[in-house]
C-alpha cells in the first residue's frame, strides 16, 4: 500500500512514479485536444465527426510535402494544414449537411465515417507507408524543452494542453453568450424550427463548420508532431480513443471532456510501471469511458428515437 518509510505507492517508488505523471498529463493533452475538438463540432453542428483524425492526418501530410519537397516557408506549410481542415469541413458540411439534417445523429455519424474511409483510401494509395522511409513532421516548438518532476516536456505538448484549454473556455463562452453561438446550438437541436425563427441558417452553418474545420486542422498538426511518425492510420483511428474523453463529457460538457481526457492520459501513463496491469494500459480510455457512461446514464428509462438520448 502507501508506505511512508520509503514513499512507495502500491509497490512502486514515488521517485520513479513522478515522471509518469508529467508524461501522463502530456498524453492527456492529446486526448483532451481531440476530445474537445470532437465535442465542439458536435455541439455546433450536431454531427459527431468520425473523420476528425483523418482530415487532420491528410492536412499534416500536405504540410509534410510542402516542407520537405518544396521551398515553401514552413509557417505557410503549417497554415496549409489548418486551411485544408477548414476547406474539407466546410465542403462536407455545406454540401452534405442539409441532406443529413433531419436524420438520426447515428446516421450523421455514419456519413462522416464514409468521409473518413475515402480520405484513408486516398492517403494509403498516394502516400503509402514506406520501408526504411518514415515521414516525420516536427514543429519548431518541439525543440524547446522543460524539465518537470524528473520528466521532460516540450513546448508542443504544452501548446496542445493550452490549446485544449483555450478551446474549452472560448467555445463554452461563445456558444452561451453570443447570438451566433445560441443560433448554432438551436440549429444543432432542430434545424427546421430554427429556420422558421428567421435565423440565417446557411450562414450560421457555414460559421460552425468553418470553426470546427480550423480546430480539426490545427489539432491534426499538433497530433502529427506528438506522434512523431505520420502514421495516418493510427491518427485516423485515434478518434476512437478520443471519443472516450468525449463520452466522459457525455458529448455535452466541454470542461468534463477536457478533464476526462487528462484523466485518461494520466491513468494510461501511471499504469506503466505497475507490471501486473502495464500491458493493458492502452485500454484505459475505453474502460474509463464505459465506467463514466454507465455511471452517468444510470437514471435513464425510455427514449424516443431520433435524438441522441
Amino acid at each position: 500500500m502507501i508506505s511512508f518509510a520509503t514513499t512507495t505507492i502500491f509497490g512502486v517508488d514515488w521517485i520513479f512514479l513522478k515522471p509518469y505523471i508529467v508524461v501522463g498529463l502530456a498524453l492527456g493533452g492529446v486526448y483532451a485536444l481531440s476530445g474537445v475538438g470532437v465535442v465542439v463540432l458536435y455541439q455546433a453542428t450536431g454531427v459527431l465527426n468520425l473523420a476528425f483524425g483523418a482530415i487532420g492526418a491528410a492536412g499534416a501530410l500536405i504540410s509534410y510535402y510542402l516542407v520537405n519537397h518544396t521551398s515553401t516557408p514552413h509557417w505557410i506549410a503549417y497554415l496549409a494544414c489548418v486551411v485544408f481542415g477548414a476547406i474539407v469541413n466546410v465542403v462536407y458540411g455545406m454540401v452534405l449537411g442539409p441532406a443529413f439534417a433531419g436524420r438520426d445523429p447515428l446516421v450523421k455519424m455514419m456519413g462522416t465515417l464514409g468521409l473518413a474511409l475515402i480520405l484513408l483510401g486516398v492517403m494509403a494509395w498516394r502516400a503509402p507507408a514506406g520501408g526504411a522511409f518514415v515521414r516525420v513532421l516536427q514543429l519548431p516548438t518541439s525543440n524547446h524543452r522543460y524539465t518537470v518532476f524528473g520528466a521532460t516536456v516540450n513546448l508542443t505538448q504544452i501548446l496542445a494542453l493550452v490549446f485544449a484549454l483555450v478551446l474549452t473556455v472560448g467555445t463554452t463562452a461563445f456558444l452561451r453568450f453570443t447570438k451566433i453561438g445560441t443560433a448554432m446550438r438551436a440549429l444543432a437541436s432542430d434545424r427546421e424550427i430554427t429556420a422558421t425563427l428567421g435565423v440565417p441558417v446557411r450562414r450560421v452553418e457555414l460559421a460552425a463548420w468553418l470553426g470546427s474545420g480550423i480546430v480539426c486542422g490545427a489539432a491534426g498538426l499538433l497530433l502529427a508532431d506528438l506522434f512523431t511518425s505520420l502514421d495516418y492510420t493510427a491518427l485516423t483511428f485515434l478518434v476512437i480513443s478520443s471519443l472516450a474523453a468525449a463520452l466522459i463529457g457525455r458529448l455535452q460538457s466541454l470542461w468534463v471532456t477536457l478533464l476526462g481526457g487528462l484523466a485518461v492520459g494520466l491513468a494510461q501513463a501511471v499504469a506503466t510501471p505497475y507490471s501486473s496491469i502495464s500491458a493493458y494500459r492502452t485500454a484505459a480510455p475505453f474502460v474509463l469511458a464505459i465506467i463514466a457512461l454507465l455511471y452517468l446514464g444510470r437514471h435513464r428509462t425510455v427514449t424516443l428515437s431520433r435524438t441522441a438520448g
Partner: protein, 353 residues
C-alpha cells in the same frame, strides 16, 4: 422478410417464391461453386459466409430493433477465442463445440448489453465501440490459445511440431468439405434469425423500433426483448466465431482490429440493413471484395476503401434500404427505360408516359 399483405393465394405464392430463391441460392453455393472455382475462392467464400452471419446480427440489432452495436467484431473475436480454448481443453464433437461457444458468447453479449440498455442511439453505439476497443487490447495482450495450459492456454514453446491447429469436424476436414459444412451451419443461423423475425419477438422488436413509449403502453417488456435481441445476435456471432476458429486453424489477434466493426457496419448499410439478404451482401463486401481486388484483378485494395466511403455516403443519402432493395429497383428502372427506348426506336404508338 415476409410481406404480410395480400390475399392468401398471393401470400402462398410469395412464400413459395422466396423459398425457391433461397433453395436455389443454397444449391448453387453448395454444389456449383466448388465444382467451378479453385481452392483460394473456396477459402474466401467460407469467410464470406461467416461474416454474413455477423452482419445478420447487425441486421437484427439495428434493422429490426433500432439498436446499434459497434462491437460485433469483438464478439466474433471472443467466439473464436472461446472455441479455440475449448477445443484444446476438451475433445468435444464439433457441433457441440459450436453450441457451447455460441452459448458462452451469448452470455458475454447479454452481460455487456444489460447495463448498456439504459442508453440509446448514439450512446449505445459508442459504448459498444468502447467495449470493443477494450476487448481488442485484452486479446492482443493475452493472444490466442495454442495448446498451452491455464486460462489463456498459451504456451511459448519453441517446439512447433507439437502445436496442433483447432480441429475441424471429422466429416469436413478438407477445405471444400469444410466450406459446405460452414454454408449449412450459416444457413441454419439465418433460419434461426428469420424464424425470430416472423414470430412474436419480431413483432415486439418492430414496435420497439417504431416508438418505445407506444410499445411500453401496449405491454411489451422492452428490457426483455432488447436483451433477447442481444442474446440472439451474440449467439449467432459466437457460432460464427467457432466456425472461424476451425477455418483459421491458428487464429491470432490481428484478425480482429477494432476498426473492422465500423467497416462491417458500413458494409451492412450498403448491402441493406433491413434485410437478411443485405447481410449476405455485407459479408461479400467485407471478405470477397478485397480478395477480388488484390488477387484476381490486381487493383490496389486501397481503392476499396474509397469505394466503401462513397458507397456509404450514397446509401445513407439516397438509398437507405441498401443495395438489396435498390439494385432490383434500378434494374427494373433500367428495364423500363430499355422498353421505352425500344418502343421509340421501333416507332411504336405514342403512349402517354
Amino acid at each position: 422478410m415476409l410481406g404480410l399483405t395480400g390475399s392468401p393465394a398471393e401470400l402462398a405464392r410469395g412464400v413459395i417464391g422466396r423459398s425457391a430463391i433461397i433453395v436455389a441460392f443454397l444449391g448453387v453455393a453448395l454444389f456449383v461453386v466448388p465444382a467451378v472455382l479453385g481452392g483460394d475462392w473456396i477459402k474466401t467464400l467460407t469467410a464470406v459466409a461467416i461474416y454474413a452471419v455477423v452482419a445478420a446480427g447487425l441486421v437484427t440489432l439495428y434493422g429490426r430493433v433500432g439498436m446499434i452495436s459497434l462491437g460485433q467484431i469483438a464478439l466474433l473475436a471472443i467466439g473464436t477465442w472461446t472455441a479455440t480454448r475449448i477445443s484444446y481443453a476438451a475433445d468435444l464433437p464439433f457441433p457441440i463445440l459450436l453450441l457451447v461457444t455460441g452459448a458462452i458468447t451469448c452470455g458475454v453479449g447479454v452481460l455487456i448489453g444489460l447495463p448498456a440498455l439504459r442508453l440509446s442511439g448514439l450512446y449505445l453505439a459508442l459504448i459498444t465501440l468502447m467495449a470493443a476497443g477494450a476487448v481488442n487490447v485484452v486479446l492482443t495482450t493475452i493472444n490466442f490459445p495454442n495448446g498451452g495450459h491455464g486460462f489463456t492456454g498459451r504456451t511459448s514453446t519453441r517446439d512447433l511440431s507439437g502445436l496442433q491447429p483447432v480441429g475441424r469436424p471429422g466429416i469436413a476436414g478438407g477445405d471444400t468439405a469444410y466450406y459446405r459444412y460452414t454454408i449449412v451451419v450459416c444457413a441454419l443461423m439465418f433460419l434461426l434469425i428469420a424464424a425470430h423475425f416472423a414470430s412474436k419477438p419480431g413483432r415486439a422488436w418492430a414496435s420497439i423500433r417504431e416508438s418505445e413509449p407506444a410499445a411500453l403502453a401496449t405491454g411489451v417488456n422492452i428490457v426483455r426483448y432488447k436483451l433477447w435481441a442481444f442474446a440472439l445476435a451474440s449467439f449467432t456471432t459466437g457460432v460464427a466465431g467457432g466456425l472461424l476458429a476451425a477455418q483459421l486453424g491458428q487464429p491470432t489477434a490481428f484478425g480482429f482490429p477494432t476498426q473492422d466493426s465500423l467497416t462491417l457496419l458500413a458494409a451492412a448499410l450498403i448491402g441493406g440493413i433491413y434485410s437478411l439478404w443485405g447481410a449476405v451482401i455485407a459479408g461479400a463486401f467485407s471478405q470477397l471484395a478485397p480478395f477480388l481486388f488484390q488477387a484476381q484483378w490486381g487493383i490496389d485494395p486501397n481503392f476499396l476503401l474509397i469505394i466503401f466511403g462513397v458507397g456509404l455516403l450514397q446509401v445513407l443519402l439516397t438509398a437507405p434500404r441498401g443495395i438489396v432493395v435498390q439494385m432490383p429497383k434500378d434494374i427494373a428502372n433500367l428495364g423500363k427505360l430499355g422498353a421505352h427506348l425500344f418502343r421509340k426506336v421501333t416507332g411504336g404508338s405514342r403512349s402517354p408516359e
